[in-house]
């Protein structure tokens, strides 16, 4: 995996900097950011392939899946478990927080690197090791862990029940290491934004995406601790033979569920917030509009972060918790729709009076809003405790959270990549291929998950390897919906070939661009494309907020943050 040889790099090549020191063991925040991004892309391909295999099994049960073979129940469970784990922990997290955070934070706040460059490198290395361990766990004796990404004990705690003596502990170890990597990264991000800002970069002039990454890092830091403790206990249960979660010995299986969801729900917002930040950056640039109500958006994201700590038990309405508790969590869960709805209103209001150009990054950003709204409104059915009784663990849930996670991890990521690609590599992506890729991905994405809302509403449970034993839940029309979803998935995967081709071709052959191809305001566009080690020729000073577009009485419709009045 090599980065493009740009004019700048060629200029440096006479220096004694080997490939290893420049791309593998670099402490440069941009290189580390790209390392996270590329690792995330590779993991996304693996996770996508897993989805292909188990969707094929669902559409055409017990037939040989091309490129894979027969899918057994054991393999099916391992595939769904690891698909979920990979897409959240090894795709959404590294790309949106670590990748974008590393690449953007120093550039956007106007400094040359993170405050702890070597800690930054260590965090990536731990993350890389965690990814390797996870992939190795799939080949371990007994197969990969198949107890769902939520890993409820006692199933996950004992090989006697899960029959994956190596897969389960390795999976848990990988997840725990991944947490450590992001704790280190999050501390680095937070301290960098607190202390390394350029002169004049006051709190209310920080671009929203930087705010979002910091808030997400803090929410992650505050929510993951109990789960780290829980993971230590679970690992000891698995490996040493303690019985923290074994009711027969006085342990409590529900304890894990609380620890897991106390982290697991805030985690949704941990990845959501950076994605909304990306959207905010892009819609302002391509609508040439000031962000509508910056402070309100900031307030709603902080409110979302705080409320997200009080909603976790909505995942456990039918888990045997006190029924009276469910009311409390229904109220908090529906309350969290308020700041998020307000944030979406502010984004839509930003479009008002704009001069909207539908370039590829803008298409992705707008698609995020349109699709995330579907994810948002369908969440109400699940947050309301009474309807959740029926929908819990059905395909309705699967469709709902894919309408949140797909916009977050895929749509916002494509928005970010297409928008910052010129800054990353100094060249433009091909616009025509970008548009094809966009429409192919969006249409097929909806064709996957709208059918799953229906199968879920018709009662089909998730994580079921074959419905043949359930006459009511495997009617012909339900099976046809499953086939439709699977075909759509294959189409979606094929369209990603266009993206990969465009990405790698444009990296080397794309049209070269100057420092500021989008006429944007934020500081990263004042650095050369791609920025050299050290980022800025002259360290910038900031004179205004990041969204001064269309300011009256100015010739230009943008006003970069670093340009003196």
């Amino acid at each position: 995996m090599s980065l493009p040889a740009t004019a700048h790099d060629v200029g440096l090549s006479h220096e004694a900097r080997s490939f290893w020191s420049r791309y593998v063991f670099s402490t440069d925040h941009k290189v580390i950011g790209l390392q996270y991004m590329f690792t995330g892309m590779v993991m996304a391909l693996i996770g996508g392939f897993m989805a292909y295999v188990f969707r094929m099994q669902l559409a055409f049960p017990d037939q040989v899946v091309p490129l894979y073979g027969l899918v057994t129940a054991r393999e099916y469970n391992a595939l769904v478990t690891n698909h979920g784990s990979i897409m959240i922990f090894w795709v959404a997290m590294p790309v949106l927080i670590a990748g974008l955070g590393n690449f953007l934070i120093p550039l956007m706040i106007g400094c040359d690197d993170m405050v702890f460059p070597r800690l930054n490198r260590l965090s990536y290395q731990i993350f890389f090791v965690s990814a390797v361990i996870l992939l190795l766990s799939l080949a371990a004796p007994g197969g990969g862990f198949g107890g769902a990404w939520t890993a409820y004990p006692p199933l996950s705690a004992s090989a006697q029940y899960n029959h994956t003596p190596w897969g389960a502990p390795l999976w848990l170890l990988a997840v725990a290491l991944e947490f450590v990597a992001f704790l280190l990264g999050g501390i680095n991000f937070t301290v960098t934004v607190m202390n390394a800002r350029a002169p004049g970069m006051t709190a209310m002039r920080i671009p929203i995406v930087v705010w979002m990454i910091v808030i997400a890092s803090l929410v992650f830091m505050a929510s993951v601790g109990p789960l780290v403790a829980g993971a230590v206990m679970l690992l000891l249960d698995q490996v040493v033979g303690t019985r923290f979660y074994d009711p027969k010995a006085g342990g409590d299986p529900l304890l894990w569920q609380h620890l897991f969801w106390f982290f697991g729900h805030p985690e949704v917002y941990v990845v959501l917030l950076p994605a909304t930040g990306v959207v905010a950056e892009i819609i302002t640039v391509f609508a040439r509009k000031k962000l509508f109500a910056y402070k309100t958006i900031l307030g709603t994201s902080i409110a979302t972060g705080i409320i997200s700590f009080f909603v976790w038990a909505h995942h456990q309405f039918v888990a045997g918790i006190d029924p009276r508790m469910a009311h409390l969590f229904t109220i908090t869960t529906l309350l969290i729709s308020i700041p998020l709805a307000e944030m979406m209103f502010a984004f839509i209001a930003t479009l008002y009076g704009g001069s909207i150009e539908l370039a590829t990054p803008m298409l992705w950003a707008l698609a995020f809003i349109a699709e995330f709204l579907i994810g948002g409104v369908t969440g109400i059915f699940l947050g309301a405790n009474a309807t959740d009784i029926y929908f819990h663990d059905t395909y309705f849930v699967v469709a709902h959270f894919h309408y949140t996670f797909f916009p977050i991890a895929i749509i916002a990521t494509f928005a970010a990549i297409t928008y910052w690609f010129p800054k990353m590599f100094g060249r433009r992506l091909n616009e025509t291929l970008g548009q094809w890729h966009f429409w192919g991905t969006i249409v097929s994405f909806n064709a996957i998950f709208i059918p799953l809302f229906l199968t879920g509403a018709a009662g089909q449970h998730r994580r079921i390897y074959s419905y043949e034993s359930f006459p009511q839940l495997s009617t012909p029309w339900l099976n046809q919906l499953a086939v439709l979803a699977t075909v759509a998935l294959i189409v979606l995967l094929i369209f990603q070939v266009i993206f990969l081709a465009n990405f790698f071709w444009s990296m080397r052959r794309g049209e070269p661009v100057g420092a500021n191809p989008w006429n944007a305001n934020t500081l990263e566009w004042s650095a050369p494309s791609p920025p050299p080690h050290g980022n800025f020729a002259t360290m910038p000073t900031v004179y205004r907020g990041p969204y001064e577009y269309g300011v009256p009485d100015r010739e230009l419709d943008y006003w970069p943050q670093h340009v003196p009045s």
Partner: protein, 231 residues
């Protein structure tokens, strides 16, 4: 509305379907309005030569009311939905009515065991009928179930009843249902419970009082006969 996709066969199912419909129309309205305005803006404010964007900070109260008013309406809708959810949940989960029959449901990897009380309507008596992967209930009778698990977490799911309850080892969790239509329906495990998770189906028979009595009669005779032959 859910009945278009799957029959509703219990009193709880009717209430939950009512709540579903309420939420569907409320959020459906929101969804259409939000998407309508969203796409309207995209179309209306497409880039045109010579037309510059407007400069709106959205910081003054006057401007902010465009998002704060909808926000208040969202709060109002949330309150309505919360009230609906709480009311239905109270009926379905929180208040357990006096049962006509009590049954016991035991989950394990990977099968369901059902203990029916038999003709004397009491559990733990010799006429109890124990079945595996087969549950027989009387239509229009209120049932309370005691749910437990022998090994890992399972979930007792009866889609036509809109009933779902995790079975947690070490606990006995009670719930209830009252069937409203006869027929044969699916029971499934809804919580990942290991390799055989997809292979723990059970069949629910909702029968008229006569048919149920006849089935019980058959089973108790068989049970009595087999216990006699054993002794």
């Amino acid at each position: 509305m859910l009945e278009w996709l799957i029959p509703a066969a219990s009193t709880s199912a009717e209430e939950i379907d009512w709540l579903f419909t309420l939420i569907f129309y409320t959020v459906g309205f929101w969804f259409l309005v939000a998407q309508g305005i969203f796409f309207g803006f995209i179309l209306k404010f497409r880039r045109r030569p010579g037309v510059r964007s407007q400069y709106i900070a959205g910081e003054s109260t006057d401007e902010k009311r465009w998002i704060s008013w909808p926000h208040y309406v969202v709060i109002a809708c949330d309150v309505v939905l919360i009230a609906g959810a709480i009311a239905v949940w109270r009926d379905v989960k929180q208040i357990i009515p006096t049962p006509d029959e009590t049954i016991r449901v035991v989950a394990q990897q990977w099968a369901w065991t059902f203990v029916h009380p038999g003709p004397d309507h009491r559990l733990d008596t010799p006429d109890d009928v124990v079945t595996v992967n087969e549950l027989h209930v009387r239509n229009d009778a209120t049932y309370v179930f005691e749910l437990s698990s022998r090994d890992v977490v399972h979930s007792f799911s009866v889609p036509v009843f809109r009933l779902k309850q995790d079975a947690v080892p070490g606990r006995v969790i009670t719930g209830w249902f009252r069937p409203t239509r006869t027929g044969t329906f699916d029971i499934a495990c809804a919580e990942m419970c290991g390799i055989g998770h997809a292979l723990m189906p059970a069949v629910l028979h909702v029968e008229s009082a006569e048919a149920h009595a006849a089935w019980l009669g058959d089973r108790t005779t068989v049970a009595a006969a087999s216990s006699e032959s054993r002794s």
